[in-house]
């Protein structure tokens, strides 16, 4: 019997007043905290008689340590960091500056190099970084300012009062599998905040509550997503230079799926490689972790990795939808930043610099609100205006129709992308519509039983243990750990749908799209020849794909007990 996590009812929770609560200590949240501290310091230096306090500014981070849940390729466009901390290059952990780049179109056995690197994929001047190390460094800067970062605490619920967000409830600790308090039970805190800043990353769980509550997706394109699967490898010296960047399109995907791979040369012969698959593919049997394994078999990659060693694994979803999918950014007592809002350039596949910039702009808005003592929509909606008059808008406006252009396959996408390149992003119409990715999934009955052209990446990878790995082996290298005795944090609203409908219609794609083997169909002991859904929540790498890609939209990802999750290092 599955029991799902929810805040325990009818218990008294400690109340704590706060000025600003930032939910999520990623690049957006950390940049927001740091910028806010800078503004307060400046203000206090100039206004000795009206001092502002930093004491009641808090960052909640569900990972046990800062940066532990951050994962990206990653290439950093330094634009926003130069604004936030001029000269940051001297002290930030940067692996290498991009020196060489190439884009390939792959077929099963060969490769075609693009004669010139398309402008959006030109990366000179950007840095290869490990996002989690970078965020750890940035978090250290935040702590130096005196702002408290509560690591190991997740935002589990928004506290609302009519049309206002008035605070955040943190996770209950010490709750057992049956939702009963254990001897170490500690109720979550109610942080009563003047403003709650949501910087939870892609598909934030509180952001999702907020969007639903205030219908913030009204008149927006549905957000669309990709899933990135990443491995970190140590390879023999001389295979790839630090700062060398390779992008590929094509194999192993067919023209029906959207996606591509990256290979970045880092320091000390470490290679970051990964594959992003758009979560709007048609075949529910597609397994993104398998796609990465098939990709590694291509001669271009296999040669690079030969006699190397896979050292880390991880996965994360990313928002592709672009400008037309971004919800309203502020309201009474709240703002939304970074990937939670969808600040990602889908053409360049870069969002870190936008997340940081959005954090800075939100900090500037929060600072004005602190000075005025007004946290209503009237003041906070200034964040919207700041974004629209910043380079975030310039950058995202040019690619506002990019991903939508690919909804009907690779070739139409390339034509659309070309047209948009010449029309300042417009293409054939002002606003290309989009459909939520899960609606592209086809039922098994409409697909060839043998998988057709896609057969090579459907179903689980077997792995040879050297170049390719099965999912559990990969997962082991994510360092994921959770307290086992806690309710399932993957809340399935109706498991009958899994056991009776989905199994026939889609073949339970959760087993395939989950990069961590959380979802499993097991024999149902109560009925002969029947299967039932079973969960391994302690495997979860917090990528949120299930919440996004489930065809019936009955899975809600909520944070597990704070401190649990992947242990990314160098990712």
């Amino acid at each position: 019997m599955l029991v799902f996590r929810k805040p325990l009812p009818n218990i008294e929770r400690p109340q704590m007043p706060a000025d600003v609560v930032i939910v999520g200590g990623g690049p957006a949240g950390m940049a927001c905290a740091l910028r806010l501290s800078q503004l307060i310091d400046q203000h206090n230096a100039n206004h000795p008689d009206s001092q502002l306090s930093k004491e009641n500014i808090y960052v909640l981070e569900k990972a046990r340590e800062m940066g532990q849940h951050c994962l990206s390729g990653a290439l950093l466009d330094p634009r926003s960091m130069r604004e936030l901390l001029p000269g940051f290059e001297k002290e930030a952990p940067l692996d290498a500056e991009v020196t060489k780049e190439a884009v390939y179109f792959l077929t099963e056995k060969s490769k075609f190099k693009f004669p010139i690197t398309p402008p959006p994929l030109r990366d000179h001047g950007n840095y290869v970084i490990s996002l989690n190390r970078f965020v750890k460094w940035l978090g250290g800067k935040v702590e130096e300012t005196g702002i408290t970062i509560f690591t190991g605490f997740a935002g589990s619920e928004l506290i609302l009062d009519d049309d206002r967000v008035t605070g955040v409830r943190t996770d209950d600790k010490g709750v057992d599998k049956h939702n009963q308090p254990k001897s170490n039970f500690e109720p979550g805190y109610d942080l009563q905040a003047k403003v709650v800043i949501l910087a939870e990353g892609t598909r934030g769980s509180l952001t999702k509550q907020l969007i639903a509550r205030f219908a913030l997706d009204r008149d927006r394109n549905p957000q669309t997503y990709g899933q990135g699967i990443k491995e970190l490898w140590e390879v023999p010296a001389g295979r790839i230079a630090p700062g060398e960047v390779i992008y590929t399109m094509g194999w192993p995907l067919t023209t029906k799926e959207y996606g591509g791979a990256w290979i970045y040369g880092g320091k000390d012969n470490v290679v970051s490689l990964g594959f992003v698959v758009g979560l709007d593919y048609p075949d529910p049997r597609l397994d993104p972790q398998r796609v990465l394994q098939e990709f590694k078999k291509h001669p271009l990659v296999a040669r690079l990795l030969e006699r190397g060693k896979m050292i880390r694994y991880g996965a994360k979803s990313l928002p592709y939808g672009g400008w037309w999918s971004i919800p309203p950014l502020a309201g009474n007592g709240w703002m939304i930043l970074g990937d939670s809002a969808g600040f990602l350039n889908s053409q360049r596949l870069k969002g870190i610099h936008l997340a940081i910039k959005s954090g800075m702009l939100a900090a500037e808005t929060a600072f004005e609100a602190l000075k005025k003592g007004d946290f209503s929509a009237a003041t906070l909606s200034d964040f919207q205006r700041r974004v629209e008059s910043s380079w975030i808008k310039d950058e995202l406006w040019k690619v506002r129709n990019f991903h939508q252009g690919f909804e009907h396959g690779f070739w139409r996408g390339m034509i659309n992308a070309g047209l948009q390149q010449f029309t300042g992003g417009r293409g054939l119409r002002a606003r290309y519509p989009s459909t939520a990715g899960y609606q592209h999934l086809k039922k098994l009955g409409e697909l060839p039983a043998d998988g057709g052209d896609e057969a090579h990446f459907l179903g689980p990878a077997k792995g040879d243990g050297k170049l390719t790995f099965d999912k559990l082996t990969d997962l082991y290298h994510s360092g994921t750990k959770h307290e086992e005795d806690q309710p399932a944090h993957l809340v399935i609203h109706d498991t009958d749908v899994c056991n009776t409908r989905c199994i026939k219609e889609f073949g339970n794609p959760c087993q395939n799209f989950c990069p961590a083997n959380v979802y499993e169909m097991v024999d149902d002991a109560t009925q002969p020849n029947a299967k039932r859904i079973s969960l391994n929540p302690s495997n979860c790498v917090h990528c949120k794909t299930c919440d996004i890609a489930d065809p019936y939209q009955i899975i809600t990802w909520v944070p597990p007990e704070g401190g649990g999750g992947p242990n990314y290092d160098g990712m």
Binding site: M16, T148, F150, G152, G465, Y476, K481, E484, D523, N536
Partner: protein, 331 residues
């Protein structure tokens, strides 16, 4: 009556809990700071000698609260006894160590007296005339200073280790000890304590086992665990499992081997129906000899097994049990 501080020390079977000395140290410090009188009390049956022990420290007076109903400990009796006593003495401040026993009866006592308690404090501060007690929040990342807004008596419990028990000051002369006989009416004590036992942290210590029989998903059903158990018993070994078995509740979690369970290195490890995901292997790869039985000839467990048996464990294990028994009987 002058303001006073009352420290309730804790005893168990005629011995003082050493955390009591820490609370007494706290009481001495607070008394010095406030100028209030420090008194102590110990509750139980036949606690005079314990009261004398406390009287050797720097306190104004020690009370031995006596009632046959206070032994063994019950929350009803302790709450009733202390309520009577505290109501008659009206101390300003009541200090207790934050022990399991205190956590058990203090909420009841304080509610019955319509007062408030500040629990699990790590220190105190004096802010003008105001006493502030420091509690940890967010797992120790923040400290909050809390003040009473209700009338005295105020109840405060101190965390283990917040003060130093070895710093408790001895008195210049033994303090007077007064025995207070507490009447607890029949019917007040509704609890009937059973034998006290310690919940074993780890019922089995698999790390010490020389032979481990471990089961995985291949065992299929909960009732089949019995088969593995018989084999373990025949071999004189311990029973263990991979995560899915413990996750289903078929065996307790303390028998789980692997990255989220225990790491073992027995002389013999028998893996029954375990596929050998890396998460399991990291917990047992140090075993000297590994015998794996699995239907799937490609199961990764065979890569590290010294003896690989490809077949149905339900065909193989029963005759194995018989053979082990025979061999043991013969030897």
């Amino acid at each position: 009556m002058a303001d006073s501080i009352l420290v309730i020390v804790e005893q168990h079977e005629g011995k003082l809990n050493r955390v009591s000395w820490e609370t007494l140290t706290a009481g001495q410090a607070l008394a010095a700071e406030t100028g209030w009188t420090l008194e102590a009390a110990v509750a139980g049956s036949g606690v005079a000698s314990l009261a004398n022990e406390v009287a050797g420290k720097k306190v104004a007076k020690v009370y031995a609260l006596e009632s046959p109903k206070l032994e063994p400990y019950t929350p009803d009796a302790f709450a009733a006894a202390l309520k009577q006593f505290i109501a008659s003495k009206q101390p300003k401040l009541v200090l207790l160590p934050h022990t399991y026993q205190v956590r058990d009866f203090v909420p009841k006592l304080v509610t019955a007296m319509e007062r408030a308690a500040i629990s699990d404090c790590i220190g105190y501060k004096k802010d003008g005339n105001k006493l502030l007690f420091t509690r940890q929040m967010f797992q120790g990342k923040l400290a909050a200073d809390v003040a009473f807004t209700c009338d005295a008596p105020w109840f405060v419990t101190f965390q283990n280790g917040a003060f130093r028990g070895d710093k408790v000051e001895a008195g210049s002369a033994a303090a007077p000890v007064e025995t207070v006989n507490i009447e607890i009416a029949d019917g007040v004590v509704r609890n009937k304590p059973q034998e006290v036992f310690k919940e074993a942290k780890q019922a089995v210590d698999l790390t010490q086992a020389e032979i481990i029989v471990s089961v995985g998903r291949g065992i299929k059903e909960q009732k089949n665990i019995e088969l593995a158990k018989q084999l373990a018993e025949a071999l004189g070994g311990e029973l263990a499992a991979s995560r899915p078995i413990c996750d289903s509740g078929w065996l307790p979690m303390d028998r789980q081997i692997g990255s989220s369970g225990q790491t073992v290195a027995p002389k013999l490890y028998l893996a029954l129906g375990i596929s050998g995901a890396i998460q399991h292997i990291v917990g047992m790869k140090g075993a000297r000899t590994i015998i794996a039985i699995n239907k799937d000839s490609e199961a990764p467990i065979f890569e590290i097994a010294d003896y690989a048996v490809v077949g149905n464990l339900f065909d193989i294990v029963p005759p194995m049990i018989e053979e082990v028994k025979k061999a043991k009987a013969g030897a």
